[in-house]
Amino acid sequence: MLQSAQPQSPPSASIAWASRIDRLGALLTLVGAAAVLWLPFVLVKANRIVPGEPRALWEALPGLAAGGCTAVLLLSALVAVLIGNARIRLGVALLAVVTVCLAVAAAASALTPAGNRVIRVAAGAGFWVPLVCLGLLCTDAITRLRPAPARRVLMLLAFLLAAVLALASGFFDHLSVMREYAVNAERFAAELRQHGLLALGSLGAAVIAGLPLGILCHRVPRLRAGILGTLNVIQTIPAIALFGIMMAPLGALAAALPLAQRLGIRGIGAAPAAVALFLYSLLPIVANTVLGLKRVSQAAVDAARGMGMTNAQVLWRIELPLALPVILTGIRVVLVQNIGMVTVAALIGGGGLGTFVFQGIGQTAIDLVLLGAIPIVVMAFSAAVLLDALVEVLDRGKR
């Protein structure tokens, strides 16, 4: 047979060009660019509650700074669309994140007349939308790099440290959110602590109660449907309603038992919030414990018993270690869910960062809402990264 002498025709230039375009990068660039062009970079308000006047990037910053910022954004757009190397994408996206953050802080300083403590300069949608696009670009690049779990945790810590140092430097102090912080600094620390305490405390209690309950469900299949069904029903009750339901019995308990009252148990406040969060946390933990134990190789359990392990030894040495990644996945769900849900606890006097959110809503002071909301998002994100890394480390060698 004759060998085909004709080489394969080269793909046409336009196809090669199109295939080199990064679709996610192109989409993010389009959205980000539209936001920079048509949405206000900052809002200048005469005081903290009136609607602001929009200012675009080049109106808010001196020419050179605006030009530099635009150049970095253009560079990141080019890299996002055309460059496939994940390291370069991450580096440029991070550079752009830093640049827009510095730009918004510089704009706030530039637009605030010296000594004026009433005027507020808030970041606008023309800042937030590109920031989110750049953030997505960063996480996409990190996903492509597949960093080891330890490295991911290190990156998270570096990010948190950089954020804290930047905010502590005073460079961002003219931004309206930071003005709200300056007014509420002491309360902020207390509410942050309260927020973490409520989220972690209810999680801890749910683990202590949920693990044995899950083991029981696994060992006694007859109980499984009843227990999981009950927890499922609890899960369907809206948070605010559950907080309300908790008020009556805890209020009655406090009225009947002076000791309970002295321990801080009342119809409103942290106690009903903690109890409600605990109840919400139970289902994911119990269900994942049951699921994790069910997935443990029956041959391994049979071999363990056949070699003379006691029931307790089988549970602690074989079943729980092998179920741990699945159980931790449940804990991750609960922790992230709790960090968000504690916000609502503020409505019944439970405290936490939700206090700022609801106060801000009440005063139509959006900056106060952000003062509560941004740390909640960062906390939830950090918890997810930490526990994902832990699950991955523990899941190794267990296939």
Binding site: S297, G308, I318
Partner: protein, 311 residues
């Protein structure tokens, strides 16, 4: 020696094991064979009390197995199962060390025993001791499973379809390994299988079970020549029972003195293999030689044919 006395396991109205009695001699391989649902695994698991009998009892070296807590009994009995049941989160070394550690052996003694077993099973300790089960091939996993079962030097080893998940070539290797190990350690092996060839190849004695009852328990040749029950002859196979019978005897056992011509066959070869060789080469007799090359004797076609008939 293991004595099984009137052992019965009742689940509701059905008897998984129905009044089984048998004497399992020490330092030998006993194979329990039967179709699925015959009660063979239940019988095996009652020996180490993974299943508690409804009636009857088991004696090991004359001692009732119920005279001590079940988990202590099981630490003295090796246990290997189909699909090996290795602990996926523990290294090969830790898996093998399971029972010695339960028995609180000293660390150096555990380490020495693990190394010895890895070598016996042709696994280089330097390469495999710290490997995880998922890093091994199926055959290696199975060998580690048996090594783990033998770790605390048990006098009795129970095996529940240990080679069921292996492909034919690796299975044949695993069976040879088991025969060597049994000879080396003098273990009393009780093995459950549904594979009649495996039963005949490995078993010094074979027990045939059906619907919870022990139909026949004897040497393999007796099962072939004097089946106690139509089910036993169906299990052993009517069509090739003569060939099966030949496969139970080795050339070395029946060679007669003399040095005739013919093809050379190993003394360890079965009569079945020698017959095949004679048919192939068209010869009437074979020369039986030892592994070291010395001549053991000769083996005629007539002698072989005589061994293929029930006597």
């Amino acid at each position: 020696m293991i004595t099984v006395e009137n052992l019965t396991k009742q689940y509701g109205a059905t008897r998984a094991v129905d009044d089984v009695s048998m004497q399992i001699p020490g330092n030998s391989i006993t194979v329990i064979v039967g179709t699925s649902g015959s009660g063979k695994s239940t019988l095996l698991r009652m020996i180490n009390r993974l299943i508690e009998p409804s009636a009857g009892r088991v004696l090991i070296e004359g001692k009732d197995t119920r005279s001590e807590p079940a988990h202590l009994l099981r630490r003295r009995i090796g246990y290997a199962i189909q699909g090996h049941g290795l602990f996926p989160h523990r290294t090969v070394e830790e898996n093998i060390a399971t029972v010695p550690r339960l028995l609180r052996w000293s660390a150096p003694r555990v380490r020495a025993r693990v190394e010895e077993l890895l070598r016996v099973f042709q696994l280089d300790p330097a390469q495999y001791a710290r490997a995880f089960p998922h890093e091994l091939s199926g055959g290696q996993q199975q060998r580690v499973g048996v090594a783990r079962a033998l770790a605390a030097e048990p006098a009795v080893l129970l095996m529940d379809e240990p080679f069921g998940a292996l492909d034919p070539i690796i299975r044949a290797k695993a069976q040879e390994d088991l025969l060597n190990i049994q000879r080396r350690f003098g273990t009393t092996v009780v093995l459950v299988t549904h594979d009649m060839d495996e039963a005949f190849h490995l078993g010094d004695r074979v027990a045939v079970m059906s619907q919870g009852r022990l139909l026949q328990y004897d040497r393999p040749a007796v099962l072939l020549t004097r089946p106690a029950d139509p089910f036993v002859s169906r299990m052993t196979g009517l069509a090739d029972r003569a060939m099966r019978l030949l496969s139970l005897t080795t050339a070395g056992e029946v060679a007669s003195p003399g040095e005739g011509g013919g093809p050379r066959v190993a003394a360890s070869a079965s009569l079945r293999e020698v017959l095949s060789e004679l048919l192939w080469s068209g010869a009437h007799a074979a020369l039986v030689v030892e592994a070291d090359g010395t001549v053991r004797g000769q083996l005629s076609l007539e002698t072989i044919l005589a061994h293929g008939r029930p006597r």
